[in-house]
Symmetry: none
Subunit: 225 residues, 2 copies
DNA sequence: AATGATCTTGATGAGGCCTTAACGCCGTCC
DNA sequence: GGACGGCGTTAAGGCCTCATCAAGATCATT
């Protein structure tokens, strides 16, 4: 289910969007100002962000920059008609699309679909096999050759997914922490040690001598294929 | 240089876009109908497509589908005001963005920048090969032809990365010290001697007679390809 | 409200990396 | 020819990072 976060200070718009989006099977969360909006992005990790530029506490482009600093989720911007310069500034700050109020719900929904479709990563090879286990990215499932399906916790899965998508490449600790826990946790490398140990215990044939989930001391981790 | 293909049947618009885009260093090609437009996409392989929906020979969504069948280049659609349903249909057919005529050139340019930025995600880093080993900058991996992967420490990797990025060029000791250890260590050239020796021992076929990691006495170091 | 799973946090020991110093070599300059 | 400075090499100690374990905190579910 696609998760949408709406940041807007007008209750009527929030209400209209919540109703229309929920009816179309989106999972909707809302925020009424820029500060709580930024917090909500880090906390909820939505798939799309709908952002009103006219917020009470922050300039719209600031919010965009704050989000773009660490994630590339699609941002659709709302603003009243006639503010050409703001429109340009928002797009340059990293927004993906722009809708002028008042807007038709059909148009917003179409732009939403387009934004989600664009951001959906190319389903290149959703299934990755190693000698001892198989990772199915599409089905979110891990199977071990000798003992069937493996249960992973949400956090374990997130980490494994990032490593598998970057298989062969080194992934820095910063990148992992940022994508799983958010930008405020960039230095909590202890989390990674704990979770990598758990993943190894669940996946590696010998957890103490990893063959697939490798540590590159001082740099990060690498999924070896 | 970014290549833009404009498909529109109105000469005045073609002319305006050609002038404005060329002035901003885009490489512009044009087509006046859907048939020749599709041919032009296949032939010119543009980086972005600007498409007018009101073409004489084909429906706009058909053109979009025809392009989307085999490539994922960004498509910005132009159409006259008020055609909500066409707008929705175009976005659902696979268009990336939508601009209503008459449009401000600033807005179109901003959307163009946004579209190009989105479509160019990974500035793919090169893989540099020598006769005896391979450096993959994206994967942060070094492979030696005769003995597989080589493990480098973070400092070793940083130095090698700088030298490889400047391959063929001389890199001064000051530049290396500054980028790896910071500006306070500009005179600690002993560090470089230690680490260059280690890199040579790990990478060179004969560490005592370096063929790739060359010293330029009194100046700095050079990665020879 | 209680239970179990999951996430966070801290402590500990081991290993590896960085730093530093010492020494020998080679070239240049006096 | 000798002194000097830059470079290559080696080795040892300190420190940082990693792996592991365990307990407390938080969350979800009943």
């Amino acid at each position: 289910m696609t998760r949408v976060l709406v940041i807007d200070d007008e209750p009527s718009i929030l209400r209209a969007l919540r109703i229309n989006l929920s009816a179309r099977q989106y999972e909707v969360s809302t925020a009424a100002d820029g500060t709580s909006g930024l917090a909500a992005v880090a906390r909820d990790r939505p798939d799309v962000l709908i952002l009103d530029l006219g917020l009470p506490d922050m300039d719209g482009t600031e919010v965009i920059s704050g989000v773009r600093g660490w994630t590339s989720i699609p941002i659709i911007v709302l603003s009243v008609w006639g503010q050409e310069s703001m429109k340009v500034a928002a797009l340059d700050a990293g927004a993906d699309d722009y809708v002028t109020k008042p807007f038709g719900m059909d148009e917003l929904l179409a732009r939403l679909r387009a934004a989600v479709r664009r951001s959906a990563p190319a389903p290149d090879e959703p299934v990755v096999k190693t000698g001892h286990f198989t990772v199915d990215l599409a089905a979110k499932r891990v199977t071990r050759a000798d003992q069937g399906d493996i249960r992973l916790t949400p956090t374990e899965w997130q980490i494994l997914e990032i490593l598998v998508r970057n298989r062969g490449r080194l992934v820095t600790q910063r990148q992992l922490l940022q994508e799983v826990w958010g930008p405020a946790y960039e230095t909590e490398s202890n989390y990674l040690r704990v979770y990598l140990a758990q993943l190894r215990r669940k996946l590696e044939p010998e957890a103490s001598q990893p063959r697939y989930l490798l540590t590159e001391p001082g740099m990060g981790y690498r999924f070896q294929v």
